[in-house]
Amino acid sequence: MRQAWLRRPSSRHDLGLAPAVALVAAIPSAPADAMDIKRVTSPGGIEAWLVESHDNPLIAMRFAFCGGAAQDPEDKQGLAYYVSGMMDEGAGNLDSVAFQERLQSLAMRMDFDASRDVMLGNVQMLTANKDESFDLLRLALAEPRFDVDAVERVRAQILAGLKFDENDPEEVASLAWDRLAFPDHPYGRPIKGTKASIAAITSQDLRDYVRRVFARDKLVITVVGDIDAETLGPTLDHVFGALPGRSSLAPVADAKPPLGPTREIIEMNVPQSVAQFGQRAFPRKDDDFMTAYILNYIIGGGGFSSRLMEEVREKRGLAYSVHSNLFPYQHGAVFVGSVATQNEEVAQSLAVIESELKRLAEEGPNAEELASAKSYLTGAYALRFESSSSIANQLLWIQIEDLGIDYVKRRNDLIEKVSLDDIKRVAKRLIEADRLITTIVGKPVDAGPKEVPG
């Protein structure tokens, strides 16, 4: 395959802006324009966004409870992740096996995922089975069993997974980077926990997390597919109505990623070093966020259209994969990239990346780059609305990030109005090329710890 699909670690959320969005001035209208997003409020007061589509006999529902892994107590790291693995392990009168067989009989899909700021739920069902499917979801949310046998099985799975992660250079580089970028903050801790913290988590901890976080005041819901508003209203009450009205979340402080230069090398016996580099960035609500988002596309978010791909891969053949991303977590935003290059040349890859970042900070992108980025980002926005499930995902993140129900219609204008002066100013504001935090896993040659300049 020509280009690595960007692997999105579960620790990071989908910006709803990811590489798929685009729009060319000349592309008529985003499908989004034609899409009718309804706000449905249940008789019991639970709100959901709905896009009706009766072309296929299926329903996609996505929801999120605000309060993800950042709610893990310091000595219970990995708790949210553990909960996410327990949600299909039995509920009500169904033990784990009975629950899984029920899912299969209904041809229903249900999974949960803990990200930094939110606990995500993702459900797909056939219209023909919708009553039974929603009922099973209700059971999973309201009456999870946390049977000892299942709790221990999932614990063993998480521990096995951690053992693999320990030997995965990408994972090790990423965890080390988070630790350096978010010292003394929940974001600096591993979402999947540690061997010791997972060993210490009890069934009661799992129950407590559910009670604290799975509440209606921090819940956002999107539904797409073969269901109408009249049916959805009462269904929302049935599925989510039994949850507590109020969550009880621990306050999370705003993180202040320290300035580098910092370079940490973790030795691992592999032929290719994996490096992660990055720095602080702007929050989602910052006036310059959208400009920074376009800038990231030009730096390393835009695949073969990006500067890093051009300089590192296309011109020099130093890597198969090199890319960057903006992660505007709710309590601290970062700009992060990664590259993988054989040990002998990884220092060269990093030098090329730093010099390209420096050049961009000083000169900014050129007019053609900005035009190309706008053209892709606005034109490809439509591609994110291809399936019920992908539409639901887009709308869910718009809700989580509180961008407004009209965001889909406004978004391309926000991109179009960014000027060359704007992006040059933001390149100076954002990029701190001599202040990067870098982690390298492998046996890099001559990539030693970074000296403090001056």
Binding site: V24, E267, G317, G379, A380, E451
Partner: protein, 478 residues
Amino acid sequence: MVMSMFDQLVATLDPRAPLILAGFGVASMAFAVARDSASASPRVVEFTLTNGLEVLVIPDHRAPVVTQMIWYKVGAADEPRGSSGIAHFLEHLMFKGTDAILPGQFSKIVAKNGGEDNAFTNHDVTAYFQRVAKDRLPTVMAMEADRMANLRLSEEDVTTERKVILEERRSRVDNDPSSILQEQMMAALYTKHPYGIPIIGWAHEVSALDREDALSFYKRFYAPNNALLVIAGDVEPDEVRRLADETFGKLPPHGAMNGRSRPQEPEHSAPMRVELEDARAGRLTVQRYYLAPSYASAAPGEAEALDLLMRIAASGPVSRLYKRLVIEQKTAASAGGWYSDSGLDAGRIAFYAIGAEKISPAELEQAIDGVIAELRDCGVTQAELDRARSAYLAEFVYTSDSQSRMARHYGWRLATGMTVADVEAWPERLKQVTVENIRDVARKYLLEKNSVTGILVPAPDRTSRGEQPVHAPVPGRS
């Protein structure tokens, strides 16, 4: 269940799709259920241009976007001996340029048109695709037709891209012990058939590939009469026919393509074992492969029975293997398996288990063997068959929700010799499978002599690597 914890590992263990985009899943017959005739969407339409290019249109008018895929009926198993990796190398080079497209501009032009593009290589097929707004279809179709005949390569392009591919190989294989073991298991399963050669190529052979290798492979296999065009999305078949005639239709066909004859695998007479001890293995993992036919090579009904056998035996947390090893015996942290059904010449069956703590390789292997023996001796129950089959059939509804997955599914099947009628009759054939059919294929194909067992054992770390960084971080200026 935290199967997701093992997603990446399982993707590595699964040799079906080594160079395929993550997120698309693997080709599976599950997608092949024809749309219900009551559905609003029209069925697929197929036709052939005068130069031999096959075209398939899958209308889906829900969003104003289209997916274009061009499938070449050539893959890594068609490479000249000693030139492993050339099919995949050429796939990369196809993005370099033509007379009309300046070097390195192909993907940039697609992006400027608000589109996304990529490509993948398999043992049997090589495919290129774009997703664009529907009014950009003429642009990307013209570009795709252009590079079918007019590829231009400089020595420098080839030299740089060879470095990129060696980095890709390091990322995918050399950096990962489970991939290294999987590569060796495939070589042991296919001693004679080129499915035993890695798609990305052996490193020493890739290092020697040059511009001439790429161009001669291109000239031999890239032609309208050796390709299939699939267009899915907001289009009408007539419009696609007109556009295809104006673009691909102008290209001359090659002479006879001579079919695809690969050395076939002989009967095996002894089981094989591959063991790898590695400090970075993580956890003990035992895998078992068996030679089996694919949908394309099987006798009527056998592939459908194998397909359902493996759904029941090893797919997900309700499977036999997971229930026995993970839930009941607690010998494994996770376990599963699959039927690789899409090969042109052969398929395979695979089982894997990730050991629980303190389980020995022999104990874990014995546990897998127990489940396999039970399948061979007693088959499956009617209740298991009914539940697995209905869930399997329902998967098509989910697949048909995505035009790009539909394009991929039909493309895969048609490019490996099936017809639209075959694809659409599949649900009916699946419905005819009985527990007796399943028992018969289990007895016929789960044979020890046709197997390869792979064992990945964590070794004590003899390197200096520890949890501590060897260099302390340098604090920045405050």
